[in-house]
Point group: C2
Chain length 310, copies 2
């Protein structure tokens, strides 16, 4: 079994992935746009985004293995629908997402966003610290990543609420279900962390209506997708101080264009889609398992249901 | 037993402390500079800093209970040396110190200090996240607070080193002893967290010599005292990029004067001495125990040895 792999990503390192795959397969070929095997030989596409021409040149493709936990960066009209598609949620992705959530939540909890501003303004203004149990955090989405984020924040002592589309039970987390549950949860949260997948049901969820249910001065952390956020509604909610400050790891267009109104605001921290990544030397075990399954004609792990969107 | 308490602090709330003491003592008096009992009646001084005239007006003082974990803000020449002095390290102080350390360490670990800068410059520059086990943190000081900080960072998965004056064993932490141990530890650390007490042995420890043993591009977090840091050496180490960035919670003069060179540098975050505080409703149990001990003529908990300095 010699996999013939085509690799395409702007954000993942081809060298690290090739080296990691070499620890799993004695023989394999590894093509990129720059160094291409015969397209007919390629049976696995390992990609973050699609190449501009799509994948139709690979006529013998057995699987598309997306390097992301979400697939909203893939234009569905360019996906060959007879080829199974899997997303990738591995331990290193989950751990980096959890760590990002902690970094962003602690930053608001301990008012570092205010002290950054004060440092630039040469202002020494004491604010007493508070205990984590007095800060409530609401997590939107309780899938594999969301439930790990909620549990980890609970372990830090935060008072954690969690919202999902299907009913979930998580020890120590107050869980809520459906739209009614969301409107119940939002006023209880000082900080909101979005880790939803982007689907037709969740697109534009972070809207004026959503913000109208939040408490005044809420903090928003968007680790989901840019398509969750209605930018005009968000800017209005910042200007009215309904949202006190936000951390956005995702944007509707990435890279976020230099003239976008989200840049250079003291109340918005932009991070360049760095919340989570699958680290090749850790994630390669999960990818190799899916390569073996694809070549053996078995169903993939984390196979995407395109109708559901994840 | 009716304690007569004199309270003095610029940073602690007299109202919260009075309310908290009321949960421990049925009867007590509570004096401040604004509302003073007869000075001869006062038997307990509960203070963060000394009043300008010192404490000599209180001729029947039985104990000085400092509200800080450190006592370097108290001028020893103004302390009546026949009155026992205690410092205060309680659970809420330790927990807020630990949380601050996590906030500051995660901020560097996940490069939020760089993304803050990029947000102001409208720059989207991807940097892949790394796992906590690939970030090494050195903790200076392994007393009650330092060992809690080291353990908590170890629980987050960081690779933790710890340095102390007297030998310490901590599960999962690489410990080092004395000056030789310090020079061994420093090159192994990407991030240094200082939680030492300020004593004659540790004053000005963060000096050119210290920085010369650090690796290039080290991150420094000072949660100890301003007197630990030699400001000119520190600025030189920043300018040469030996230190990549720093978070300073303490300054040699507090509030840090507006024209100080530490302000408004992209590589220095100043926080206004907020790392840890004893939260009255939590810490009052420890304070009440020391009040009872003082009135009963017993030795205090956390009594300070002025020769040692803590």
């Amino acid at each position: 079994m010699t996999p013939h792999i085509y690799f395409n990503s702007d954000i993942d390192s081809p060298v690290e992935w090739r080296d990691a795959l070499a620890t799993e397969f004695r023989a394999f070929t590894f093509s990129t746009a720059e160094a291409m095997d015969s397209p007919d030989a390629v049976d696995i596409a390992l990609i973050w985004q699609l190449p501009p021409q799509g994948l139709k040149q690979f006529r013998n493709l057995r699987a598309i293995l997306c390097l992301g936990a979400g697939i909203s960066q893939l234009d569905p009209s360019l996906l060959p629908c007879h080829v199974p598609l899997a997303r990738l949620v591995d331990d290193s992705l989950t751990r980096t997402m959890v760590d990002y959530a902690k970094t962003a939540v602690y930053r608001f909890h301990r008012a570092f966003h205010i002290f950054e501003q004060q440092s630039r303004e040469r202002t020494w203004q004491f604010r007493p610290p508070t205990l984590t149990r007095d800060t409530s955090v609401g997590v939107l989405g309780l899938g594999e990543i969301g439930s790990s984020v909620a549990k980890a924040l609970g372990d830090e002592g935060f008072c954690v609420h969690g919202w999902s589309r299907t009913a979930k039970q998580l020890a120590g987390i107050n869980t809520y279900l459906g739209w009614g549950g969301l409107w119940q949860m939002l006023p209880r949260c000082k900080i909101i962390v979005n880790v939803l997948p982007l689907t037709d049901a969740t697109r534009a969820i972070l809207s004026s209506e959503f913000f109208s249910h939040c408490r005044d001065g809420v903090y928003l952390i968007n680790m989901g997708r840019g398509g969750h956020l209605v930018e005009q509604d968000f800017l209005a909610a910042l200007d009215s101080r309904r949202i006190a400050a936000a951390t956005l790891d995702v944007a509707s267009v990435e890279p976020l264009p230099p003239m976008d109104a989200l840049w250079n605001r003291p109340d918005v921290l932009i991070t360049p889609h760095v919340a989570g990544i699958s680290i090749p030397r850790v994630a390669v075990r999960k990818v190799a398992e899916n390569i073996r399954r694809a070549l053996a004609g078995q169903p993939l792990l984390q196979q995407v249901d395109l109708a559901r969107g994840y």
